[in-house]
């Protein structure tokens, strides 16, 4: 199918461009883009729930934090290696998502939003409450405890920019591939059916609760993969990443880039990151500009950038 090839070519092209980009970037932007890639993985996870399934969460930072602490604490206390730490972070996020989903998915719409906010805040406050163990309020640094990866006998430390960038790109690519595969699969079709008309979908033979639970599991997995990756690559673990602000960010990134588009979260994350970066060089009230950007977005591009591009020019864009 030419449509399928076109979609594959576009996404592989974006990944290839990102791979090449690292050789052209000056050091400052090199680290920024690595950071953006990991955060975009988080936004992609968020979009699986909001964009494909139609569930808006305001507690997604709990999954990012579950990945971050699930990976960071074993490294800090037991000197666990990076691959195992990453797997533990991922498992924490998926576990939390499923437990949360079994309770919270009894609600939908605004109630789900509130319940997710409550759970998110509960995790944030728990991290602060058990400060002796989590070191939540100060945070902690991993670099001294984390053994470098090895490739053919050569140590690859996470402080090296090349390693940082390429691991970040690998995490992003995995998230992107998962989201694209989901979007184009039979499962993705059902999730979109639930988003568009849940009662109809139930009467067409689909147990919507189970499908929403799967979507939440995937969303939590991607968010926690990003959280674990962020902890390992940027060497810092702290409770601020579990705060409400970190639940709002992926919502903003996704809205900006295009809800329900596969590449939208990357675009939104990159633009918002550089907007904040540029503006905060001039003034400390950068949130004012973020707010203004969002108002403009809602007024003129309610579907986000790629959502608008899709409805005007490229209907095949997934």
């Amino acid at each position: 199918m030419s449509a399928g090839r076109r979609i594959l070519a576009l996404h592989l092209g974006v990944l290839a461009a990102l791979l090449v980009l690292q050789f052209a970037l000056p050091p400052y932007h090199h680290t920024n883009v690595a950071r953006i890639l990991v955060l975009a993985g988080y936004a992609i996870g968020y979009n699986v729930l909001l964009g494909y399934t139609g569930l808006m969460s305001l507690g997604h930072a709990m999954f990012f934090a579950a990945g971050m602490y699930g990976a960071g604490l074993p490294v800090y206390y037991f000197g666990v290696g990076a691959p195992l730490a990453f797997a533990l972070g991922l498992a924490s996020g998926i576990g939390l998502a499923l437990v949360f989903g079994l309770m919270a998915l009894r609600t939908s719409g605004p109630s789900f939003l509130i319940v997710s906010l409550m759970f998110g805040q509960a995790l944030f406050l728990t991290l602060l409450y058990f400060n002796d163990v989590t070191l939540g309020d100060q945070g902690f640094i991993l670099s001294a405890k984390l053994a470098p990866l090895e490739l053919g006998g050569r140590p690859l430390g996470f402080h090296e920019p090349g390693v940082k960038y390429n691991v970040a790109l690998a995490i992003f690519a995995a998230c992107l591939a998962a989201a694209l595969a989901l979007r184009l699969s039979a499962l993705g079709r059902v999730l979109i059916g639930i988003r568009e008309n849940e009662e109809r979908t139930r009467l067409l033979g689909y147990d919507s609760f189970r499908y929403k639970l799967v979507a939440l599991g995937v969303s939590g997995a991607l968010a926690s993969a990003a959280g674990a990756g962020y902890a390992l690559l940027f060497s810092y673990v702290g409770a601020t990443f579990a705060s409400i602000l970190f639940s709002i960010y992926p919502l903003l990134w996704t809205l900006l880039g295009g809800v329900g588009t596969v590449l939208g979260p990357l675009l939104g994350t990159a633009l918002m990151f550089y907007l904040v970066d540029t503006v905060s060089g001039v003034t400390s009230s950068y949130l004012l500009f973020v707010g203004a950007a969002l108002v403009a977005l809602v007024l003129w591009f309610p579907q986000g950038i790629l959502g608008t591009v899709r409805s005007r020019w490229l209907p095949w864009l997934p």
């Binding site: 039979a186 079709r189 059916g193 033979g205």
Partner: protein, 248 residues
Amino acid sequence: MAAVAPLLATQALSKHFGGLAAVREVSLEIQPGEIRAIIGPNGAGKTTLVGMICGRHVPSSGRIIYRGSEITALRPWQRLRLGIAYTFQVTSIYKGLTCYENVALPAQRALMRGFVSRLVPGETAVAQRVRAALDAVGLADLAGQRADELAYGHQRLLELAMALATGPQLLILDEPTQGLAEGEIAALCALLRRVAEQATVLLIEHNMQVVLALARRVTVMDAGEILAEGTPAEIERDPAVQKAYLGR
């Protein structure tokens, strides 16, 4: 007639919404292969009754038996998998999706077994099934069109195509001809006769010409109860029916 085991039977089925009894102790039997019409004035409880059969509403009391087993407690998606398909009175389609995608959801479900499915159905098989369902209702040329851009009559037909794509054994249609033009109604009747060769059809309908043309038996409801039941000719002659329809 009673010798054949009914495909569907309701036993003293009731539904109360707060203090309002929408359906009161309705016992109904539908034989395999028949086209049954339910008629009655607005508010008679017809939609609520079929809503309980397909699983939209939980009955307040009573039982529903389908192919010899009780399904009263089954959830809507489980009933669909047993072959009970429902089309809404107020069109309920995926307005933001194309006709193809609207029908692909039920088509995919029919090709799946169990939850996510042990084998994800191939897109070619789904496409074939979608094509067949859209062909049956005459919408094949509009497969790529967004559902909310369709004319109202076409939206009704799309809804029917979605039900057909599930491969129903019992097809429940809630006022399928509402809002259709004369010619479209005739075409729909022809289509339903073809469908009835493979499935049992339960039809709520106000248009008496459609009822007379299609139904072998007619059930008349009024105020949540069955008022009369019989062949179309018997129903037309029934004094109680005339009273309910012509004013009391």
